[in-house]
Amino acid sequence: MVRRGVPAVLIATDVFLGLARGEAEAYGYPQLPILVIPHPLGVRPQHEVRAWAEEKAEELINLVGDGQL
């Protein structure tokens, strides 16, 4: 997306932050903004995920500005 000029933010749970950073660096985007959320995501009830999304929305919007690399 960044390559196509679209601002991008990567969302990763904390235990996958290393993978997210490692892959972003390997593909030439060490500055790619990453929004970190607590693990786990997969087995979490949907209402908790929604509550988290609302809580993190502003942080995400701020990071989108940083996503124009």
Partner: protein, 355 residues
């Protein structure tokens, strides 16, 4: 750039140094000294600095030299080297999705097999225990692939390899087609290569499921294989995959005697291995199954039958193994397609051809 080759004072020193640097799979390695690497390089006409492929997710350039170093470490004989080079090229093709395979939480590994005269020429094991220990070609070619994934592709556990459990096949998973005991045409011919071509196929294999079945009735055999495939927590079903079957020669002969060829086997298995959408968890349906299958099947209801793969052709079959009444189901990563390449020299001329 010529990679630095560290020479310790003893075999153990080199092993310790390599472990410390994270350059390996944990097992002892053959120290890649200059003379050993030179012997490996002499087995190909490709230039040492030629880039065979870029290996995700670390995006390391797999030059012929770097692959040679890993082949030495794995214990390969030099004559195996063209097979390793071909496997590396194959697993880095985009349709194989090595980026997904390396970084995923799934236990998937790069499995592979050879078909054609290379099997006999290099002494690969296609018979008894062909997925197990005991044969140098099988063991070390598979291990060389793993070392390339780690040392060039950056697939280190907890770093860019995020497998929840992994699987024993991540050390080595390489075998050969048992063409002599198969009732059907060789795999490489089925793939459109001229008879007598040597090929390497790579598979994104999540494990092995053994199937013991003594029946001499082809329909019964297909019925129980189809039942064994059915796994609502399997990536092939969830993501529209490409499952593999390693049929033993004895089972292949039961099926062939019953009038089946690979095409009709695929059709029967595909039809009878479908599972109703209600068998998946609601979350799995909502997150993955619907997005993978709605474009293919339309709206998904509880009664929609979800197949293991989009079409019967996507069920892949190879004959291998020794005597007795076992066959093997290889579930895959799902979002991967196997790649088959001919083993050639730098000019594209086939190696190990039947003359």
């Amino acid at each position: 750039m010529k990679p630095e080759i560290i020479v310790g004072s003893s075999f153990e020193d080199v092993y310790e140094k390599f472990l410390e640097e994270g350059w390996g799979d944990g097992l002892p390695i053959i120290p890649p000294t200059e003379d050993r690497v030179a012997r490996m390089l002499a087995a190909t006409d490709r230039e040492p600095d030629e880039v065979v492929a870029v290996v995700p997710p670390g995006q390391g350039e797999a030059t012929v030299l770097k692959v040679a170093i890993n082949a030495v470490m794995a214990g390969c004989r030099p004559e195996y080297f063209p097979v390793v080079l071909t496997a590396v090229e194959a697993m880095c093709r985009p349709e194989f999705n090595l980026l997904g395979i390396q970084g995923t939480t799934n236990p998937v590994t790069v499995a592979g097999f050879v078909s054609g005269p290379v099997v006999k020429a290099l002494g690969f094991n296609s018979g008894w225990n062909c997925l197990g220990q005991g044969n140098r070609a099988n063991a070390t070619v598979g291990r060389a692939i793993r070392l390339v994934l780690i040392n060039i592709g950056g697939g280190r556990p907890g770093e860019l390899d995020r497998a929840t459990h992994g699987q024993p096949g991540k050390y080595s998973f390489f075998f050969a087609e048992n063409e002599n005991d198969s009732p059907w045409e060789p795999f490489h011919v089925e793939q459109g290569f001229p008879p007598g071509t040597s090929t390497v196929t790579v598979i994104g294999a999540s494990g092995t499921v053994n199937m013991l079945e003594p029946t001499d009735n082809a329909e019964e055999l297909l019925r129980v294989i189809a039942l064994t495939l059915r796994s609502p927590a399997g990536n092939d079903y969830i993501f529209n995959g490409e499952p593999w079957l390693i049929i033993s020669p004895e089972h292949a002969h039961v099926l062939s005697a019953g009038g089946y060829n690979k095409e009709s086997i695929r059709r029967v298995l595909w039809e009878n291995s479908r599972i109703p959408a209600r068998d998946f968890t609601k979350k799995c349906l909502q997150y993955w199954v619907e997005s993978a299958w709605r474009p293919v099947l339309g709206e998904i209801t509880d009664d929609t039958l979800i197949p293991i793969a989009e079409s019967p052709e996507r069920i892949r079959i190879v004959v291998a193994g020794g005597p007795s009444i076992h066959s093997v189901f290889i579930p895959t990563f799902g979002d991967t397609r196997a790649v088959t390449l001919p083993i050639t020299d730098r000019h594209g001329q086939p190696l190990y051809e039947n003359r």
